[in-house]
Structure formats: C-alpha cells, structure tokens
C-alpha cells in the first residue's frame, strides 16, 4: 500500500480551478443516456401492478385474462422469485435482510403499503402492458393499517409482521410489535447531570417523511440469456451494488451479470437500493427478450423510499454561562413497511457537534404502512438536528446568549469525546461557527415580521472500497476508469486529481465510469465518499504509473530507475551524476511503450479510512406574512468545512442544492395520506419541491480545514449542508413571530393556525 504524503501546501496547478466537466457536452446536447434512454432489438416493455390498499392479505392472483391479451409475453408475481433466508446481513446500521428485500420488490403474503408491487407484465408496447395490468385479478383481504409512527408504537396498533420482536432490548420482549429495533447510546450519566443545570428545556417534535425528489424516475433495461448470463443498464448510485442485489434475488452468480452504468438523473440516497432491476431481469429471463421498465412519477412517490418521518423528544440542560451539561434525546423513526430507518444515525449525529459530558440518546425503528424508507442525504441527521438545534435556540434565548456564541462555547474539537464512542479526530466545526460570526450579514438589522435563525449540523462522511485504473495512451493522453457513478461532476474531480498528480494539463486526462466488467469494485456514490475514497484510488494509481514511467525512462537512458525523478509531467535525471539527459515528457515515454515493456496501465484499489466528518453552520433571514402564514426566505448563508475543494463550483453546487432541499423539507414537503392510507399527493404538483422563484441566491462560505489523510485535503461535502436548514428556518420564524414551530413542514396553514392560536392565547 502506498504511503500518503501529508498535504504540504505545495502550489497546485489544477486542483482548485473550475474546468468544464468531461461529460458536460453530451448532457447539454441531449445525447447523454440515462436509465430510460436505452433500447435493444426485440425489446419488451414492462409495467408493474401495485396494491391499491395500504395493508392487505393477498389471497390469490389470477393473470389468465392478462396473459390472453394479444401482445402480452409474460406476467410475474412474488412467487416467481426464490425465497430468501430471514437474516440481517452486514453492519447493524445498514443491515440487509433479503427476506425483506425480495418482498419489497414484489409482495408475497401481504401488500404492506399503497403502491406495493404485486405483479408485473411484459408486453410488446407500453400501451399493451398498461392494458394488461387492468386484466390481472388480485383477491385482497383488506386489513387495518397504520401510518403515523406514534400510532404504530401504540399497544393496540395493527401489526405489519405478527412475529416481530423488538431487537436490542434485554430481556427480549414477549409480545410482538411494530418496533423493529431499539438502540441506546450513553455517555456519562445524563439523568443525574440535569440537576446541575441552571436551565433545562424539553420539547417534542414531529417531522414528515420527505422524498429525495430526483427528477429521473427509476428505469432500467435488462437482458438475461438462456445461458444464464445477463446484462443490465440501470441508473443507480452504484452499479456494483445493483449487480450484487439483483444477482442475489435472481439466484445468479455475480459474475454472470454485467451492469452498465447509465447516467443517473439524481439520487440523493434513493438510488442506492433497487426496485425495478430484478423485475426487468426476471421478465427477461422468462420471455427471452430484453425488457425495459420505467417508473411513473406516481410510482416513484408511492413505492420508492422517502426518508423517515419522526416523532422526537429532546431535553438539554445548560449553565448560565452557556455550558451544556446534559442532553437526552428520544427519536422514534418510521422505517416504512420493512425495518431499516436511519434512526441510528440520528442518535449518533444528534449531539455530535458539541462537547457534552453527559448524553443519552434512544432510537426506535418502527414499521408502518408506508413505502420502505431509503437513504436521503445525511440519512437521519437532519431529523434529529431539527429537534436538537431548535432546543438550543430556546436555551440561548433563556440565558440571553447569542445562538452562535452558545454553539462556539460548546463546540466539539479534536479529542472531544462523542456520545457514540470514539473521540473526534478532526477540527472544522468551530471554524464554521466563527465564519458566520464574522459574516457581515449576521449583524444586519431586520425589518418588521422578519427573523434570523441559526443552526448547525454534523455528518460522518464515508470512505470505503473503490478501485481505479489509469491508462497512458501512445500519444501521451491519459484515460481514467473508475466504478463510481458520476452524480454531480466527479468525473471532473477525478481527472483534476490525476492531472495534478501526473503533472499534466487537465485537458490531457479523460475520466470515465466503467461497467462492472471493466474496473474493480466501487461502492455506491453515497455518504459523500467518492472524491475522498475514489479520489485516493485514482491518485494511488497515478503514483504507480509514475513509478512505471520512471522505470521506462531509466530503460531509455539505460540508467538505474532510482536515478530518475518525476517532476511536472517529465522524467528527469535525479542529479548530474545520473547523466546529462533532456527531460522525457509523458508523450515521449509513451511513444516508446512497446520497447519499454508494453501497455502503460496501473490499477489501485483502496478501502479508504481517515475520512473527516462534515460540519455545517448556517443562518437564514425570513419574512413571515402574519395574515397568511407564508414564509419568504430573504437570505441564506451556509458555512461548511470542505477540507479542500477540488472543483469549487461543484462544491458550491452541492451546498446550494442541499440548502434548497432543506428549505423544501422545512416549509412544504410532506406525504399526505387519506383515511384509507392512500397517498393523496403523489406528484410534483402537490408534493411541493422548491421552484426557482421560491428561492433567493444563497451565500456559500467554504471553510477550508484540509484533511491530512487525503493527498489533496479533501473532506466529503455532499450531505451535511441539508442538516441545519429546518431548524435554522424554525428558529428564524420564532424570532419573526414569537411562535415556536415544532412540526414539519411549517406550511402556511400550519403556521397561520399556530400564529392565530398564539394570538388567541
């Protein structure tokens, strides 16, 4: 394994500049191919029949009328998929249970939410497939359902799984419930420590599930041959993971499935899991034809993962001087129809920005009749932060302390003990708070009905497995292949890090995302890990290439390789003793490729550690219309520790996008269910993500505390920006109106009702 040089402040030529991304032109000309853009000869179109009921036993499915329709080639149900063992595989936080996964792909004994897939049709055209769905007869026994998390935890709640015993409780409960798991993290003795506090505030909060809202619906094209080998074109955040899941559910060897990475039209965590891929593959296996599936927007809302809604209670105690002495958090998360909410993250991140000696967090993972929750940008952290950062704002008011000063006083730093175990190994949080304290807009006066709110956020950031291959072509140009899906410019950052390492111009380097047969395993593009982990793999591969090039230059000069150094894209003699040779360029060495040993290629694979967490602190100014409850965002200032920005424009873009999503989460986004447990706003008209005219321009403050464990100081930047906005806006609304909102979204009807009741009171 190559040793990583510490980030000495050398002058960087490429890193930190803003070149055009290598994959840019096809994306502005319409030529880039996304999940729905692939076709093959003889291709069939598939559509999925979905449950109209929130909770129902499936007594029987009769597809005979559908199969009789001309043009229908096959119908499949859950029975077509092999059974999977019931076991939680892998790490507790993200355990996979294939017994659950195969049932989420296609219902078996029961439909557990409206939109749950129950059958699928492959036909010669989308219209025929749609007509066939109407001819599939499903005999349902409708069961009582439960949507709300508190209702699902009630003793008399309808059970989704009659045999579910809560995990993580000693001794194990005897009665089944909808609580899949309970987890606790303890540091010191919180309960006792509250006694020492001068002020204690306890409040309860609720948040609504929100959808990732990527604009591209899930889509894929599958071809499974009679020889048992198959190909899949899929838009996902990780085609290696799509391959592993799909192969497992179809009982294939992983090596028999080749997955091509389609361009992905947004994911934000929601495309780290699979929905349509095994269905298309099974239909292809059954028909012998390629099969294409495109979800409708309604399917996306009804059947793919939003993040959890939650019910929370948070209690924090402070001294008069602002020191936090104790914190307690109870977080109840909707998992949706199958276990696996991000509640554990919520517990771990809730108080992570702060140095608190006594902390106790408890989390509950609760199933209910909604689509299974999927990851969404810093999963779990924004939800617990809404509660924690709101309570901190109340405490700051009670002790008359500036909310930023309160946070700075308690800021976690290197060496601070976290409640979930290890000590912080990186700074960066305090710097984001200080950046806002220094920000000119923080002191600007506010007008009538206006308020300013502050909040912070924490996210782990990821590392993990990545592989990269670097080729030097005979003309000296460079090609990089990685297996990390490019969601927002990572091809550019990979090319920039390679160009910087090799000492060649950015334009000489082409960066590609390779299929599962052409490059080593790469874990998903998620957890803000790609520029960090895959970046390290790319730099490692480039360093191997440099060693190879030095060796080839040594052959050309007929000297010892140790006498050759690599500087600014050229091989040079290490000293005069080596000899008087003119520097050899990459191009010159590449021209001697054959005689110096053949193809110039290097691979590197890493399981990267040493990643630094993401810290963000933000403030926003809002204006509330006291007669309608409408909230206008006047200003939003977002400070974030970015380590070092490889391509600053794309780092700014990540932060701007995260803030916009947070604003939607805070003000308007929610799942609205009717009394039958049916989603009544399954579309972009009534599921209101922000539009361009809703938002101001944001002020992004990039704080740079480089991570010494990355050759260029990178820290993950993709996620933490979505953690603070909900609390920041709630705190601003409180200052503007004197009313404290504790439930999301803070939509006009809800805010106006709160304002009027406050008036009445």
């Amino acid at each position: 394994m190559l040793t990583r040089t510490k980030d000495e402040e050398k002058t960087l030529k490429v890193v930190g500049t803003r070149p055009v991304r290598p994959d840019g032109e096809p994306k502005v000309t319409g030529l880039a191919q996304y999940g729905a853009d692939f076709s093959l000869p003889g291709m069939l179109w598939a559509k999925i029949l979905r449950s109209p009921h929130a909770h129902a036993r499936i007594r029987a499915i009769d597809a005979s009328r559908a199969l009789a329709l001309p043009g229908v080639k096959a119908v499949i149900t859950g029975a077509d998929f092999m059974e999977q063992p019931f076991e939680y595989v892998g790490p507790e936080r993200v355990a996979v249970n294939y017994w659950h996964m195969t049932r989420n792909i296609m219902a078996r004994e029961k439909a557990l939410y409206e939109g749950h897939a129950v059958a699928a049709v492959a036909a010669v055209s989308p219209a025929v497939a749609a007509a066939a769905l109407k001819l599939i007869d499903v005999d349902y026994e409708v069961l009582p359902h439960v949507i709300d998390v508190d209702a699902a935890m009630a003793p008399d709640a309808p059970l989704l799984f009659e045999d579910m015993i809560t995990r993580g409780v000693e001794p194990a409960p005897t009665r089944p419930s909808n609580v899949s798991k309970q987890i606790d993290f303890r540091l010191g003795d919180a309960d006792a420590a509250f006694a020492a506090a001068d002020e204690v505030v306890e409040m309860s909060f609720k948040t609504a599930p929100v959808h990732q809202g990527y604009i591209e619906p899930h889509a894929c094209l599958a071809r499974i041959g009679a020889d048992g080998q198959g190909e899949l074109w899929s838009a996902s955040q990780g085609h290696f993971v799509v391959r592993a899941y799909t192969a497992k559910l179809l009982g294939m060897e992983i090596g028999n499935l080749l997955v091509h990475p389609a361009e992905i039209g947004g994911g934000f965590g929601g495309k780290t899991v699979i929905y349509v891929e095994p269905v298309a593959a099974m239909l292809s296996r059954k028909t012998g034809h390629p099969v294409k599936i495109m979800m409708s927007r309604e399917d996306v809302f009804r059947a793919t993962g939003p993040t959890s809604g939650a019910s929370m209670t948070v209690r924090i105690g402070v001294k008069k001087d602002g020191r936090i002495v104790a914190a307690r958090g109870v977080f109840r998360f909707q998992a949706g129809a199958f276990p696996g909410s991000p509640v554990m993250n919520a517990c771990m991140c809730a108080f992570a920005p702060y140095d608190i000696a006594n902390v106790h967090t408890t989390g509950y993972d609760v199933v209910c009749n909604r689509p299974k929750a999927a990851a969404y940008r810093a999963p779990g952290s924004p939800i617990s932060a809404f509660a924690v950062e709101s309570v901190l704002d109340v405490l700051a008011g009670k002790i008359g302390m500036d909310p930023l000063a309160l946070r700075l006083k308690n800021a976690a730093r290197t060496g601070t003990q976290t409640a979930y175990g290890p000590k912080h190994a990186h700074d960066g949080y305090a710097e984001t708070v200080e950046a806002l304290m220094k920000h000119p807009a923080y002191k600007l006066p506010l007008g009538r009905n206006q308020g300013r709110g502050v909040a912070s956020g924490y996210w782990f950031n990821g590392g993990g497995e990545s592989a990269a291959t670097v080729h030097i072509n005979e003309d000296g140009s460079v090609v990089i292949a990685t297996g990390s899906m490019d969601i927002g410019g990572s091809r550019a950052s990979m090319a920039m890090m390679a160009a910087e390492t090799l000492g060649v111009p950015y334009e000489k380097v082409r960066s590609t995302v390779a299929d599962t047969g052409s490059v080593g395993y790469n874990h998903v593009t998620g957890g803000s890990r790609v520029t960090y982990a895959t970046g390290i793999a790319v730099v490692d591969a480039c360093r191997k290439i440099i060693d190879d090039l030095r060796g080839r230059a040594a052959q050309i000069w007929d000297v010892n390789p140790s006498g050759v150094v690599w500087e600014e894209g050229h091989a040079r003699p290490a000293s005069a003793e080596v000899g008087d040779f003119a520097p050899l360029s990459l191009k010159a060495i590449a021209a001697k490729r054959a005689v110096t040993g053949g193809p110039i290629v290097a691979e590197a694979a890493v399981n990267a550690g040493g990643m630094a967490p993401g810290f963000a602190t933000q403030f926003c100014d809002v204006e509330v219309d006291p007669e309608t409850g409408a909230v206008k965002i006047l200003r939003f200032v977002a400070a974030q520790d970015v380590g070092r920005a490889i391509h600053p424009s794309y780092v700014e873009g990540q932060i701007q996008g995260a803030v916009a999503q947070g604003i939607g989460w805070a003000l308007n986004e929610e799942y609205i269910y009717d009394k039958n447990g049916r989603l009544s706003n399954a579309g972009f008209l009534d599921y209101r993500i922000p539009v361009a005219s809703d938002l101001p321009s944001f002020d992004v403050v990039m704080v740079a505390v480089p991570n010494p464990n990355h050759p260029f100081g990178v820290k993950g930047v993709g996620e933490v920006g979505i953690v603070p906005p909900m609390a920041a806006i709630a705190n601003a609304i409180q200052q503007a109106t004197g009313t404290r909102m504790t439930e999301l979204p803070m939509s006009p009807p809800r805010l106006l009702a709160a304002l009027d009741s406050a008036e009445g009171a």
């Binding site: 329709l69 219209a127 409408a630 009544s680 922000p690 009702a753």
Partner: protein, 290 residues
C-alpha cells in the same frame, strides 16, 4: 384496446355535430393540459377527441367598441401577449398568468380553465369579477351565459350535451375602473390556488366606488360571485373600514372543505385577507386609469 378517433373540425358547428352525434365518451380537446393528464391517469377514456385548434373564432381575440371577445381555446400565452387586453383587464391577466408554468400556458386555454369547472381555476374568479359572459354553441344554436353560472360543481359545468364554449365576452371597461386577482399558494408558482379572489371596481369623479364585483375561488364547490362583498365597497371610498367589511363578507361567503391543499379555517381567513389586498390593487388601478 381500441384507439381513439381524432377529429379537427374547422367550425364550431362541425365540432358540435361531432360531439352531439358521438357514441361513447367524446371529449373536446383545446389546450389539453387537463385532459391529457386525466387520460394518462385513466380517469377519462374517450372514444372521440375533437380538437378545436382549427376553429378560427375559438383561437383569436377581437375587440369591438371596447368590448373584448376572447377565443375560448386560444392559449394563455397568446392572451398575455395581447397588449390591448393586458391594458384593459390587468386583473384577468393577473389570473391567467397564474395558470401553470410558461410551458402549460403555452397550451392551456381560458375556455378549458373555465369549462373543467375546477373550483380552484384561477381565471374564473377574475372573469366573474370582470362580468364576463361565455358564448356557447350547441345543437340548438348559440346562447350566452354569465361565467359564474357556467360552473355548477367540481368538474361539472352547465353545458348540455354537444355544447361548447366558443368565446368569452368582456364588457367595455368604464372610466375610473380597475380589476385585480390574487391567489394564495404555498409555492410562488406551479401550484393550485388554495384561495383565489378577483375584484373589479369602478369609481366616480369623487373617488367613491359606484360599482364592484367580487369573485371567490377554491372556497366552495364552485367559483362564487359574492354580491355581499361587492356591496361592502359600493358607496365608499374603499377605505380601511370598507375593506374590513369586504374581508368579512368574503370570509362569510366561504363554504370550503379541508383537503390536501388547505384547511377550512385557513381558506376562510385568507379569503378575507386576499379580498382586501386585491381591492386595494384594483382601486389603485382605477385611480391610475382616470
């Protein structure tokens, strides 16, 4: 699975004949921005679509002695681009500008917005306030109907089988008069009115309101003409006291439901608020017009 017959008649009478004579579900296709969504969702499965885009009178705007005749299927964008109409009926334009995105307004028509009879349709309260009349062609010839009488319930209109709205007539704009439309939506654009209010007032030489019409949307099973609200303004200088009475009357006229877009209480209160604000804008426009 049978395909849909598609016709593009050149006259309103031919369209009426097709619709009246059809067996099975027959639908008029103007902008299509509601119909295509209903067809996609399987709520409507027509056997016949009659496109009226080739019918000249339904796709043009004409003016005669200060009276405007708007083709029922001309696109909202075409109407917004008509400088004379924008100058005469800024309140109607306020509403038409809110009928969806630029893309949707490139297809959607005022006729469709009215005839789909959504209680939340933006153009309807403004047209009601404007005193607009619909020109209807049918098997028994032509007739006119006040816009407030066209909608009778959610998705239900007063047209008989085979009848179509060919155009809307807006009366000559008196001196010292102005109109305005305001709606409430959670987003600034791309949204459906939770409450919509159209106000049209005329002032006399002394600045006293001598005529007023108020239309309310999204607060009942159909858009409403609210004479009580208008009465609160007539005879006043549209001062704070009158505006407060207007707000009270507007709120009192609401009979809303709770739904995914808003609560009863919210709609009732905001109807009054927006009526007051719209009247202030209409008054300002009336003063500028004099």
């Amino acid at each position: 699975m049978s395909d849909i017959r598609f016709e593009t008649p050149a006259t309103a009478e031919a369209a009426v004949a097709l619709l009246a004579g059809a067996t099975g579900t027959a639908k008029l296709l103007a902008g299509g921005t509601d119909l295509l969504i209903q067809m996609r969702g399987g709520m409507v499965e027509p056997a016949l679509l009659v496109s009226v885009k080739n019918i000249a009178e339904m796709n043009m705007i004409a003016t005669h002695a200060g009276e405007f005749r708007i083709g029922a299927s001309m696109s909202c964008m075409a109407l917004i681009e008509n400088a004379d109409f924008v100058a005469a009926w800024p309140g109607v334009i306020d509403a038409v500008k809110l009928i969806g995105s630029v893309q949707v307004k490139g297809r959607a028509s005022v006729g469709g917005n009215v005839c789909n009879a959504s209680p939340a349709a933006d153009s309807v309260p403004a047209l009601i306030a404007a005193g607009a009349r619909a020109v209807i062609a049918g098997p028994d010839g032509r007739r006119e109907l006040a816009v407030e009488q066209l909608g009778i319930g959610p998705g239900r209109n007063a047209l008989a089988r085979g009848e179509i709205v060919t155009s809307f007539i807006l009366p000559r704009r008196p001196a010292r008069s102005g109109d305005a439309y305001l709606r409430f939506t959670p987003r600034t654009e791309m949204d459906i009115a939770v409450v919509g209010v159209g106000v049209n007032i005329t002032l006399d030489e002394r600045g006293v309101c001598c005529a007023a019409r108020v239309g309310l949307g999204a607060v009942a099973e159909r858009a409403l003409l609210v004479p009580e609200a208008a009465a609160a303004l007539v005879g006043t200088a549209v001062d704070d006291a009158a505006l407060a009475r207007l707000a009270g009357a507007a709120s009192a006229a609401c009979r809303p439901i709770d739904d995914k877009r808003g609560t009863k209480a919210f709609r009732i209160k905001v109807a009054g608020v927006l009526a007051r604000r719209a009247a202030e804008i209409a008054k300002q426009r009336a003063l500028e017009a004099s």
